[in-house]
């Protein structure tokens, strides 16, 4: 209901206006017909009043003279508004031949309304030469003459008709203005508002840098949409910042781990190895068959230090695998080997094929590390979730870019369900694997495409720009 408030308002106003207009029109018509019947009965009355008064018996010659009984009767009727002014109407006594026998003052000019036929029982509406409207009725008199009564509608009803015309006109103008107003409201406000609402409904907050919500003449809408547009841009920038922040974090983490691993390796590990060597040297000078406590101490010392060396080595491995320095091919083979060993208990071993285009295999260490981590994540996903038994990893040139793809023969998943999702959201919903892959893809400044359907295999394509010449090894 709230949603259609504007529509409701406009509908109500429009309906009300239309109703007012129609009622006015109806009232006007009723008034018109009332006026009409009033005028008819008026003219009939006039004619009857004249003919009903004592029979006009005057001679034809006398009729036009003042003081005749006919004139007397005119005088009697002169209080009637229609006889007050020559324009308002008049009475004419006409002979069969159409001659005026007598007339109310100034009524002679009404003779053209006489049609020469008689009698006319029902009043009729006639226009005279000037275009004024008259109601006319003709009645026979006892002496064989006729009385013609005419009343001017134009003259008598002019003030009233003027009021009505103004009323109707103003009602029409008001209605038209309201309708035009409503249309403009609809066209300039309701339509753009609906457009804005619809667009806002599918705005990818943080995904679209700039959106255009409104482009029209209403400054309020312009202001509103520009605020929202700014919000969208800000949210995009914030999202970008967050992404960059995460990428920086991952990068910083990798480099710190790498550095730590190197330092551990070059420092602690080398020292422990040196200590092992010294203990082994010391053992050289103690006869091995002797059951001396010194020999036992040295054996224990060597064992302890060897264990320490092993632990440090595995810390280094966990922090940052040293074998990424051997290049992508070796790194992938190492991961493949480890995965195959890790899933050794599985009924059929995992077979991992590595195919690298020789020309593109020489990548800088951070690229190798990123691709290795992607592969590690993707391959372990394939085995764990997809039950894959064969995984193929490839790197080749694709136009100017490099294409890294990992494909398995597992049971797949509905990749379309994840299309367009924010990978950071995936992280919060427990899909850390894809989020981790996505972070490395971003480190490579690449794009990722996952092609999979339930029951079919899964393939992850990562397209990334080749390292700039300064970066290559």
């Amino acid at each position: 209901m709230k949603k259609h408030f504007l529509l409701l308002l406009m509908g109500t106003v429009t309906l009300f206006t239309a109703a007012t207009f129609l009622i006015s029109l109806h009232a006007f018509r009723t008034q018109e017909s009332a006026m009409d019947s009033m005028m008819r009965s008026y003219v009939l009355d006039l004619a009857e009043n004249f003919s009903n008064t004592a029979s006009f018996t005057g001679g034809r010659g006398q009729a036009q003279r003042h003081g005749t009984p006919g004139m007397m009767r005119f005088r009697m009727l002169s209080a009637d508004p229609a006889l007050q002014s020559p324009e308002a109407g008049g009475l004419l006594v006409i002979s069969r031949e159409g001659r005026i026998i007598t007339a109310s003052p100034g009524a002679e000019r009404l003779l053209p309304l006489w049609k020469g036929t008689a009698p006319e029982e029902e009043p009729r509406e006639v226009l005279d030469a000037k275009g004024d409207s008259y109601y006319v009725v003709v009645r026979p008199l006892q002496d064989g003459n006729f009385i013609l009564a005419a009343v001017s509608r134009t003259y008598l009803l002019a003030p009233l008709a003027g009021v009505w015309k103004t009323w109707i006109l103003s009602a029409m103008i008001t209605s038209a203005a309201v309708l035009v107003g409503m249309f403009l409201l609809w066209y300039w406000l309701a339509v753009p508002l609906r457009g804005i609402a619809e667009r806002l409904g599918n705005v990818g907050w943080g995904k679209e840098r700039s959106i255009r919500l409104y482009n029209g003449p209403i400054s309020e809408l312009e202001a509103l949409s520009s605020v929202i547009e700014r919000l969208a841009t800000e949210s995009f920038e914030k999202e970008e910042l967050k992404k960059r922040y995460v990428t920086d974090l991952v990068q910083a983490q990798e480099s710190t781990r790498g550095q730590l691993a190197r330092e551990l390796h070059d420092g602690a590990l080398q020292s422990t190895v040196a200590a092992v060597k010294r203990i082994q040297l010391a053992k050289q000078s103690v006869p091995s068959d002797a059951n001396s406590p010194l020999r036992a101490h040295l054996d224990t010392a060597e064992e302890v230090v060897q264990t320490a060396a092993g632990e440090i080595r595995s810390y280094c491995e966990t922090l940052s695998p040293s074998w990424v320095r051997l290049g992508l091919s070796s790194a992938l083979e190492e991961i493949a080997g480890r995965l195959a060993q890790a899933y050794e208990g599985v009924e059929t071993d995992v077979d991992i094929g590595v195919e690298l285009e020789a020309a593109v295999a020489a990548l800088p260490e951070d690229h190798v590390l990123a691709l290795a981590r992607i592969f590690q994540e993707a391959a372990s996903n394939s085995v764990r979730h997809g039950g894959a038994r064969f995984i193929q990893v490839e790197l080749r040139k694709e136009g100017d870019a490099l294409l890294f793809s990992v494909e398995d023969d597992g049971s797949g998943f509905d990749a379309d369900a994840y299309a367009g999702t924010d990978f950071e959201e995936l992280r919060t919903t427990g899909h850390r694997g894809l989020a981790n892959i996505n972070e490395r893809v971003r480190l490579l400044r690449g794009t990722m495409r996952i092609m999979s359907r339930p029951g079919e295999s899964c393939r992850i394509d990562i397209l990334f720009p080749p390292p700039s010449p300064g970066e290559t090894r």
Partner: protein, 216 residues
């Protein structure tokens, strides 16, 4: 007298090893280097029978030196000496022409054995490099399987292996599966290392076809 060159950037480890080598019978330590560049210079000058090379060194890794030795066809055998136990370090060393691979922390008895083996051209692999099925009895590989294993060991992708042997990629995969089963290996690298260790495949058969495989 076996003439040996030792290269390791860590002074304490180097001096410990040097002390043992100097005391060892039948062995002559002809030089000690602390980085790749000086190791190479010394190697050219002294022409030793065996070079004990650390993998991670400043100014050129042990693997790079081994590759140069292979390229120049110098008579020096290489024994890699490293703190890393990852299988790929072994593979990288083997591809670079090293005859043996031993961890720095290995007891002197093993080092003695490694020196003896590698100087005679026999592949030596440190027992600590984890091979899951070292003791599994090995079945004989067919000639075709050996070919597949050797090409794979050279670092060729399976499509290339398939092309060279005029078979399909699927067949290559089938051969590899059979090879793993016969050797008791769990993956490609392990299969290669097991085959090398048992002499099914010889080191010389793994030399790179130039330009193929990964450059280091």
């Amino acid at each position: 007298m076996l003439r040996i060159l030792l290269a390791d950037d860590h002074p304490l480890t180097r001096s410990g090893l040097a002390a043992w080598l100097e005391a060892e019978e039948g062995v002559e330590l002809v030089g000690q280097a602390a980085d790749g560049e000086s190791a190479w210079t010394m190697l050219l000058k002294t022409q030793p029978d065996l070079a004990l090379l650390d993998i991670e060194m400043p100014n050129g890794s042990g693997i790079e030196i081994a590759e140069r030795i292979m390229k120049r066809k110098l008579p020096t055998n290489v024994l890699m000496l490293t703190a890393y136990s990852a299988q790929q370090y072994v593979m990288a060393s083997v591809r670079a022409g090293a005859k043996g691979f031993i961890l720095k922390s290995a007891p002197f008895d093993q080092l003695r054995q490694a020196i003896a083996d590698t100087s005679r051209g026999i592949f030596y692999l440190d027992p600590s490099v984890s091979l899951v099925s070292d003791e599994a009895p090995a079945e004989e590989l067919s000639e075709r399987e050996k070919e597949v294993l050797i090409l794979t060991a050279q670092g060729l992708p399976s499509s290339e292996t398939a092309r060279l042997l005029s078979i399909t990629k699927r067949t290559v995969a089938a051969h590899l599966t059979s090879i793993y089963a016969k050797l008791g290996a769990k993956n490609k690298t392990e299969a290669i290392l097991l085959a090398l260790k048992r002499g099914i495949v010889l080191l010389d058969q793994l030399r790179f076809i130039d330009g193929k495989g990964e450059s280091l």
